[in-house]
């Protein structure tokens, strides 16, 4: 790739940013990872006298701010009419589990902050041009992406955030990359907004759990079975997108919507 092409890419991105469509997404995430569960199981096992056991940290809810860039669309027909969209997202999710024993509520979980990008397209678009792939591309899409995450475990005992030895609130941060595959469907359009449903699989190749183990159990002795893990999250999301361009599949669904 020569220098001119390298220069074109950021210019294209800036140009596309101008045409970006902001969106807000509400999402639910299901966490599936044995070692995360073992931390909670350790907590429960270590306190056999507790009548109410702590459920494994499984459920997370949160929101993401998204910007959708039609990287290659029918508006740039000189390149191709195949739809390819870039999405950047800024998100927050909270996972938690709680139980009350001896009138002391106990809540354990973690905050997840993430910055992510993903590329979306329609499977058919990979092989042949699709017309009228405007602001949101095709009605049905698949995407691949990567995220940078900050995980901050927390424990609230009797309503108070627990503290470390220095008396400071315990919110040890760990940083991780994750990859994701998603697929979604633009459900309907109301005015200049589109509502989209999406499911995604998010994969952490490695997540350091020492901080989480410490926050929940008050310690993490080396040798315990919970130090690091690969983690899978399944996400269901509902997204509201503010449309800027009106050349979409719903303008001429018969010819444009190939999904």
């Amino acid at each position: 790739m020569n220098k001119r092409r390298l220069l074109i890419l950021p210019i294209m991105l800036v140009f596309e940013w101008i045409h970006a469509q902001p969106a807000i997404q509400m999402s639910y995430r299901y966490l599936r990872a044995n070692n995360w569960d073992e931390i909670i199981q350790t907590y429960n096992t270590s306190r056999p006298w507790n009548n109410n056991k702590l459920e494994p940290v499984t459920h997370g809810v949160g929101a993401m701010f998204c910007w959708n860039f039609p990287l290659i669309s029918s508006r740039s027909e000189s390149l191709t009419s195949r739809a390819l969209h870039l999405n950047s997202k800024l998100g927050y999710h909270q996972f938690g589990s709680s139980a009350e024993n001896n009138n002391i509520p106990f809540k354990a979980g973690f905050h997840q902050f993430e910055v992510s990008i993903d590329l979306r397209t329609h499977p058919k678009c990979l092989f042949k041009p699709v017309q009228n792939t405007g602001a949101l591309g095709t009605r049905y899409y698949i995407g691949f992406g990567a995220s940078f995450n900050a995980l901050m475990p927390f424990v609230r005992s009797n309503g108070d955030l627990i503290s470390n030895g220095d008396g400071e609130k315990y919110l040890e941060r760990t940083f991780h990359f994750s990859g994701q595959f998603n697929t979604g469907y633009h459900l309907l359009m109301i005015g200049n907004t589109a509502i989209t449903v999406e499911i995604a699989a998010i994969w952490f190749g490695h997540a350091e759990l020492e901080a989480f183990a410490e926050s929940v159990n008050g310690h993490n002795l080396s040798g315990m079975r919970n130090e690091s893990t690969s983690t899978l999250m399944i996400q269901g999301a509902l997204r509201l997108t503010l449309l800027k361009a009106n050349k979409n599949w719903w303008d001429n669904p018969r010819s444009g919507d190939k999904s």
């Binding site: 299901y30 599936r32 569960d37 073992e38 909670i40 199981q41 350790t42 429960n44 096992t45 270590s46 306190r47 056999p48 006298w49 507790n50 056991k53 702590l54 459920e55 494994p56 499984t58 024993n101 001896n102 002391i104 424990v155 005992s157 627990i162 503290s163 470390n164 030895g165 220095d166 008396g167 315990y170 410490e214 926050s215 008050g218 310690h219 993490n220 002795l221 080396s222 040798g223 315990m224 079975r225």
Partner: protein, 455 residues
């Protein structure tokens, strides 16, 4: 929507409706370990808190467990005096260190409550006893306190804490307070405790920062109510002589010549007992292991509990840090634990404890004289005392472990299991700076049980 599409979508919906409950059910996660293996018979040597707790967890998992205790009582360094005053007095472990530990939760779950009154510590220096608020007006005192709270940033060699204080120019007027805060509270004196251990403690402590005293229950009572199910598994007065793990099964022999056979052993005896090689291991433990034992410190510790006819201290008094033979006192009856009995505890560790122990029972005179320097003659108010010298307990031989200069990773080596058969637990085996605490001992038991049950 045409008919064909309607039928197809209805079929999809029906399939989803049938499979969804099964999928959700498969996502249900176990609340407790369910992938454990049966380790066979487990014998625990020592019925201190670590041994009792490990036995309790194993018993709940259906494991055949037995505890061999050398002394005539369970509890180890937890010992409650039930008749000395009109409330429970702890002759051993007394405070709950941190609100985020299994021990804290066990205490709360037993129905015990903590005293909530704000108590003030008093410091004796420059010839006067000063409450903390007045002491803080002294520059040298503040420098000493600031230094004691900055171990987390220490980057020097693993020297002793007294040498470190001298290198930082701490005034000789407050050196005894430094010794009380840094050394005595950790079971020794400032010249024996290592800076790297203090730094690690500062960095690794995760149990919370509150120190709590129980108002309405003794620790022994708490153990009995929470772990009482395992008391029937304890063989008291059983002094283990040898542990032979050379064969497929482990053979344990006690001093009376009785043999016990098992598949796993958890050794929870104090580090002092291991240092003195009171238990013979066959085959012998590696040199690395025995060297690790010797790198961990454990000194004599004495608690002298004294009852007076009236309180000669201010009503809000917590601890009193002195300059004489007793580095620290505290008011045991404070915080509403008793309205009528006035009880004070003298807490003496390390070289100070050795010096007092040499006086035998007459140490009470020395202690009353020491109090007299700070409060005037208190002898007329004296009623009774109890001396608990943990260095004299034949199966304990000290207070609790501490990090000497050069302790390094000795605790990790101590905590390593041998051949998957011999496991070590107890406060000294804690690798993350919760040693010298009840909750630390419990955590090592949990770790050991977790290892034993791991599939």
């Amino acid at each position: 929507m045409n008919r064909r599409r309607f039928i197809r979508q209805s079929a999809y919906s029906a399939a989803a409706a049938l499979t969804l409950p099964a999928w959700i059910s498969s996502c249900k996660k176990p609340l407790l370990f369910n992938d454990i293996k049966n380790p066979g018979k487990v014998i625990i040597v020592g019925a201190g808190i670590s041994g009792l707790y490990a036995a309790h967890l194993l018993q709940l998992q259906g494991v055949d467990v037995q505890i061999l205790e050398a002394s005539d009582r369970a509890g180890g360094r937890i010992k409650t005096l039930r008749d000395f005053a009109d409330f429970h007095i702890e002759a051993g472990a007394e405070e709950v260190h941190g609100e985020r530990s299994i021990w804290h939760d066990m205490v709360v779950s037993s129905g015990a409550s903590f005293i909530s009154e704000d108590l003030t510590d008093y410091y004796f220096f420059n010839g006067n006893l000063k409450p903390e608020s007045l002491a803080e007006e002294n520059t040298f005192f503040n420098i000493m306190i600031e230094l004691s709270e900055s171990f987390g940033e220490y980057e020097g060699a693993d020297i002793d804490a007294l040498a470190y204080a001298n290198s930082q120019g701490i005034s000789q007027n407050v050196t005894h307070l430094w010794n009380a805060i840094i050394g005595n509270e950790r079971g020794t004196s400032a010249e024996r405790i290592g800076m790297h251990g203090l730094r690690k403690e500062w960095q690794k402590w995760t149990a919370g920062d509150r120190n709590m005293l129980v108002r309405n229950k003794g620790f022994e009572e708490i153990l009995e109510s929470m772990l009482g199910q395992v008391y029937s598994k304890i063989h008291l007065n059983t002094i283990v002589n040898s542990i032979d793990y050379s064969g497929q099964r482990i053979q344990i022999t006690d001093q009376e010549g009785n043999n016990y056979e098992c598949d796993k052993v958890i050794v929870t005896v104090p580090i002092s007992v291991l240092q003195q090689q009171s238990i013979q291991f066959l085959p012998a433990l590696s040199e690395t292991k025995t060297n690790a034992f010797s790198k961990i410190g454990m000194d004599r510790g004495i608690k002298v509990v004294i009852r007076f006819s009236e309180a000669f201290w201010a009503s809000n008094t917590g601890s009193i840090l002195g300059a004489g033979p007793v580095p620290e006192y505290w008011i045991t009856s404070a915080g509403g634990r008793s309205a009528s009995d006035h009880v004070l505890t003298a807490f003496i560790m390390g070289p100070h404890a050795d010096a007092l122990a040499s006086q035998g029972d007459t140490m009470i005179t020395t202690i009353l004289d020491d109090l007299g320097i700070m409060f005037g003659d208190v002898s007329p108010l004296y009623l009774a005392h109890h001396i608990e010298d943990w260095g004299n307990h034949p199966h304990i031989r000290g207070a609790y472990s501490y990090d000497k200069p050069g302790t390094g990773n000795a605790r990790s080596i101590l905590a390593e299991s041998i051949s998957g058969k011999i496991f070590f637990a107890g406060e000294a085996a804690h690798t993350q700076s919760h040693h010298a605490t009840v909750h630390g001992a419990i955590e090592t038991a949990l770790k050991t049980v977790s290892e034993i049950l791991a599939p």
